[in-house]
Symmetry: C2
């Protein structure tokens, strides 16, 4: 006779469970491919493994970046988008701040998220075909408000979207200048190697927010890098890297495209926390490989 019983699922990355925050080891590689698999050299892959991010200066030429900025400005001003569930509208002025699933809204951005200049390094970093887990146009106008608090995207995607492993990477494409003073991303380099388990009800009342003590440990150990950029510069950021963005009190808007590639071998399943799967425009269930 065979004893059959349901074994509890062991989650390597538990979060939003208890009352104590925890710092856990990362159980997955950061770099899954090799120098033979794509455009990044061995030393650049090592650097990505160490810091958790890689910068691509002028990946788009200035004319291309300017064209994408025009498209972004057109979308943000489109009154039809304001009532679309994929648009995030600032209640203070009715302005569109983000457009999710922007590659399904705009042909130009669809071409960009499938562009080999993005897809090939993503495939190389993740060691497989990749699909678009999320795409998002972000637009912060001048005098455009407060900071974006610290987060690891992976924590959210694991808890709320059911992303099993750390095998995803976000590509941020700068469409305007990103200065330290108009809200360029802040990154704790090396933080991607630590998984920060979050409280259900974290700082600022937002679930999935890391606690202050943990952030202090990470920042004291690793420092903080400010990712300034010019239009057309691209940054690839590991899904588990701790990042934030400063407020923008300058007159200068800041726009970027953010596209998250996930390995097709890491397709999302049942959420590991949170309140059930989020809509497809936040967390795609279409695992069709990008750029193929």
């Amino acid at each position: 006779m065979t004893l059959q019983m349901d074994l509890p699922t062991l989650d390597d990355y538990p979060t939003r469970k208890g009352t104590e925050a925890a710092l856990l080891y990362r159980r997955d590689p950061t770099v899954w491919g090799t120098a033979e698999d794509g455009p990044l050299s061995h030393s650049r892959l090592q650097e990505h493994d160490r810091r958790g991010y890689t910068r691509f200066g002028s990946l788009l030429d200035p004319d291309e970046a300017a064209g994408h900025l025009d498209e972004a400005d057109r979308l943000v001003a489109d009154p039809g988008l304001r009532d679309d569930e994929r648009a995030v509208v600032d209640p203070s002025d009715g302005g569109v701040r983000s457009v999710f699933e922007v590659h399904r809204v705009s042909g130009a951005f669809d071409a960009l998220v499938n562009d080999p200049r993005l897809v090939e390094p993503a495939r190389q970093l993740l060691g497989s075909d990749v699909y678009v887990h999320q795409s998002r146009l972000d637009h912060r106008p001048g005098f455009g408000g407060g900071p974006l608090y610290w987060r690891s995207d992976f924590e959210t995607w694991h808890a709320e979207d059911g992303m099993p492993r750390m095998r995803a990477v976000g590509f941020s494409v700068a469409l305007t200048d990103h200065h330290s003073h108009n809200g360029a991303p802040l990154v704790i380099p090396g933080s991607h190697r630590t998984y920060v388990s979050c409280l259900e009800d974290g700082e600022h009342g937002r679930s999935g927010t890391p606690d202050r003590g943990t952030l202090t440990i990470l920042a004291d150990r690793h420092g903080i890098d400010t990712l300034e950029a010019a239009p057309g510069d691209v940054t690839a950021l590991d899904a588990n890297c701790m990042y934030a963005a400063g407020a923008n009190i300058t007159p200068w808007a800041r726009s970027s495209l953010f596209v998250v590639y996930n390995s097709v071998e890491n397709a999302c399943e049942k959420p590991f926390g949170g309140e059930g799967p989020r809509p497809g425009f936040l967390a795609s269930r279409d695992f069709t490989p990008a750029g193929r």
Copy 2:
């Protein structure tokens, strides 16, 4: 017979009067002394005249700066100061964020505001003896809140404190690291040559706040400098320079001493706007020369 009548006072720097903002010419020199009058060379005085600020790297040695930081931390933690009218307390956590007239609170800071390393360049820039119009310890804890919006201090001192001319300079003494990401001051270099007349009820409901259109003109013309600093670095900032500070969402506190020297030939009179003279701890009526 002589006709006697009250002639209206002609104010070169009107503000908070009407409904239109205005950009007016500065009617005063920025640099009142010469290279013979103090430690700054002719070229450094020219640079101050052009940019509106001068940086003094390591004006205090590291031990001195560390001692002043200890004193600052002691003051901020002093429960007796929390109920002092000169302390600015953050209602969210009861923490002391600023201590005005700090040179009357602390012997160490009294010595510092009278230190020849600060007073001599102040005398040289203003071409006369100087007195302390205001002193202030600023302490922003880690995760310490929002940005400081743009302002010209002179606009406030003219309107509310009756400072007649642009003949004052603020010295900011860094007691901790000031990074771009933990709220280092942002300055529009060259903005000190333009007087921005403000609305009574400006942005954020604060009187004396410059409007967005004016700030855009100034920033587009001059750019924005981020004044990062190490402990012991000092910046001298013309009273009419437009400046701000970013939010601090890092774990790292930022502390500084700010002391405003005004020429004894520019002593405050009746306020030119606002609601009457402010308390002496905000705007001193003691015109005794500093460092004498």
